[in-house]
Amino acid sequence: MIRVEDLTIRYRTPGGEIEALTSVSFSIARGSTLALVGESGSGKSTVALAAMGILPGEARIASGKILFDGEDLMALSAEARREIRGSRMGLVFQDPFSVLNPSLKIGEQVGEGLVHKRGYTPKQALVRAIELLDEVGIRQPEVVAEAYPHQLSGGMRQRALIAGALASEPELLILDEPTTALDVTIEAQILELLETLRARRNLTMLFISHNLGVVRRIADEAAVLYAGEIVERGPTVALLSNPTHPYSKGLLAAIPRIGERKTRLASIPGRLPDLRTPPQGCRFASRCPFAQPQCAASQTLMESGARAVRCGRADALVGVPWPHLDDGAGVSEPVRRTTAEPVVMVENLTKTFTIGHAPWAFEGWRPTRKPICISPVNGISLEIAAGEALGLVGESGSGKTTLGRTILRLIELESGTIRIAGEDVSHLPQSALEPMRRAAQIVFQNPDSSLNPRKTIGDLLARPLVRFGLAPAAEVPARVKALLDLVRLPAHYQDRYAHQMSGGEKQRVGIALALATEPRFIVCDEPVSALDVSVQAAIINLLADLKDRLGVAYLFISHDISVVAHLCDRIAVMRHGEMVEIGPVDEIIERPKHAYTRKLVAAVPRVDGVSGGHPA
């Protein structure tokens, strides 16, 4: 159906030309699904844009061919390519929140392709759009067609996008991280929908994802992309259960798996090579634990049967697992204080937001407007002991983040009590919260927006030390070094600015910042959600080490149950502001009592779980 041959794409940037893709080749047979797997910067989205012919202006196709149904797309005129896209090829983007035009109705956006491509009248297109919305499982499609994007939930928007891509009955559907922005339960529904559609319409799919669990479920074949090169390719199940390329091995070893005992995760040290001057030899060599001098020579993609791998030592590495790298600190003795009273005690905590007012109405003689309220935190009680991690899971909008921030009094509570380190802080004025601010800290999801871009890391880390008078001025530099050391960053990083560091490094600084006051309790609000798998593993290991070494208590908020199950001792499940279940990890994962918990756990796509795709 589609065949990509030797595709090389370069981007012009102010710092020089970057080679985003280096002679990438693959093909997908009609009716089957290929997954393109890789971390950020691997070039996987560039493949999608190139296939559609909508690369941004700074991109240049240096060489290669894209054959669609035997026709060379590069040889076609811009007009002819435009004809093909949206009629024979459809693209579903990653983020349903920004991909829909905010000022056009859903029905129009789903059906407009038909108007311009198939000569429908707007009215006919709307009728067809409603049918398509119905086909992708949207209830009340007539109402949704008349709605604007902001009135829909993320899952509904993603369905609408898929409906729009399907409208012109494309033969090839390219999906760029279609479920990444969604909750697991919604993700499971979307994947199911894609499987049904594929069977019903004999769709060919190019599925781009970093989530190996999702890939296992949906794809017949998978190709692993690293730094613009395909490093391994093969049938999904075979590749995932028996990876050959060291990078694939590392990627798989870095994923926390539900039900696996708590050891430290394997992580991949280092970072992507500079693609302005890609290394001559194996691009992964600098991060590869199996690297040998011969890896400096250029590597070719060697085919053997259905599989192909770009590693000269592949034969020698068959069956060799990814080593557990010691990333700096040995697992030290836990210093748990089991006897002490809980560090955090929350009782009956409630927070209500007024989101609007009902229309004026008479209540007796008085005209009044009833406020419309939602309670993202509704009567929550929990305790966390020193050195314990309580995981908080639930879908987006269930109140996880609000709970975390209310406990820290970053959001004012409505009622209930909060005791941190034995002190009742629920009703103290903000000015009297100083000791509590020292004892309880927070790590945010996105280190890009939580680190001041105009200060060096050293300044940032010194700030809480000075603010709380934790160290005399002379000792501050030493303390900053110690903090950097604690999160395993080299001391010279104190002179860097946030933009000079990678995502994982920034998150380490975020953690160091929270640790600066020697807190007893840290709220971790989705601290690894913005990170790549290999980096995520290192951060999770770090958090686990710090917990054991310093006896810090965590409230670990995450939508990723596998991560929570790996790191935490107990799990609390939230839904619509209420806690539906709380208990030890094993109990929640293996014997969930509440129906919602069961649904949530079952929805998690697993790398070692069932494969929904056709058997290879």
């Binding site: 093909i84 000022s103 392709g113 949704v144 902001h150």
Partner: protein, 318 residues
């Protein structure tokens, strides 16, 4: 939505009340005495006293204000002590002439400004973009009286296409009427293009790089549909707010332009009444300017809400 409009209207009324008080107090504090104005500077003091008493100028200021405001609300703007005739018809005539001028200019600023902004955005970083930027910057950087003179020199003196100044009513013939409007309009438009075109340009550039425009391209829609249907609608939202502000600036801009072109509109009336201490006319004129400003912003707010479904429809569907 009704509640939204009513609330906005309420704000407009509040603004006008506040402005009227401010205008009245300031002009009442000016070193100008209406009685002297009527009787001449060398009138005997006892006559002045008597007239002051008759006009109520010795009453406390709030009483004077109440009387003035009540008259204003009933449509009686009083009489100009200088020109010895009622203010209302004189003012409306001036306002209608100025509205022709600002209306024309405003429409042209909106059309040309948005057009140039779009062109610059679509040719982002190329010669045309830089050319448009430089031209509009020159327009805004040099004051209006300079452009007025340039326009007079070029179109009236050199080319002889347009009259240098003055105003002729429509009854004197459509072309005669129009030619008197063109020169001041060109001046006003050139001085105000930069705001609109720069803002349209930057929001258009941003919108053209947004995921939903990319998605529209991925649907294979013709570029014309992508630009006008998908991008422009969203890119215009900030422009609308600035257009309303520009309408207010135009009302200020006409003071200079009308003076240079000897165009008998509101601006000239204001200048004239200030120069001659004609306080009742000045008060009425300023209030009218404030009212137009407030109404322009009201229209912008409503238009913004109408174009932006997030304001128009708040809630969620099912």
């Amino acid at each position: 939505m009704t509640a939204f409009i009513l609330r906005r209207l309420g704000f407009v009324v509040l603004v006008l009340v506040a402005v009227s008080m401010l205008v009245f107090t300031i002009t009442a504090l000016l070193p100008a005495n209406v009685a002297y104005l009527i009787l001449g500077s060398f009138a005997p003091p006892d006559q002045v006293k008597a007239l002051e008493l008759k006009l109520g100028l010795t009453d406390p200021i709030w009483q004077q204000y109440a009387r003035w405001a009540a008259g204003f609300l009933s449509g009686d703007l009083g009489e100009s002590p200088l020109m010895k005739r009622p203010i209302a018809p004189m003012l409306w005539e001036a306002v209608s002439r100025s509205l022709m001028l600002t209306g024309f200019s405003f429409v042209l600023i909106a059309l040309i400004g948005v057009g140039l902004g779009m062109l610059a955005a679509l040719r982002h970083g190329r010669a045309l973009d830089h050319g448009i930027s430089i031209a509009t910057y020159i327009g805004i950087a040099v004051p209006e009286f300079f452009w007025s003179i340039v326009v007079i020199i070029v179109f009236a003196s050199w080319l002889g296409w347009l009259p240098a100044s003055g105003y002729e009513p429509m009854s004197a013939g459509f072309w005669v009427w129009l030619t008197h409007l063109i020169a001041p309009t060109i001046t006003l438009v050139f001085g105000h293009l930069a705001h609109v075109s720069r803002l349209t340009r930057s929001s258009m550039i941003e919108v053209m790089q947004s995921p939903y425009v990319n998605a529209a391209r991925a649907k294979g829609l013709p570029e014309r549909v992508v630009v006008f249907h998908h991008a422009l609608r969203n890119a215009l939202l900030p422009t609308i707010t600035v257009l309303a502000l520009d309408f207010g600036r135009l009302m200020g801009g006409i003071v200079v332009v009308e003076t240079v072109f000897a165009y008998p509109g509101l601006g000239r009336l204001v200048v004239f009444s200030i120069q001659n201490r004609d306080l009742p006319t000045l008060q009425a004129a300023i209030l009218v300017v404030a009212a137009m400003y407030a109404l322009a912003n009201l229209v912008a707010d409503l238009l913004y809400a109408w174009l932006n479904p997030k304001i128009r429809f708040g809630g969620h569907v099912s």
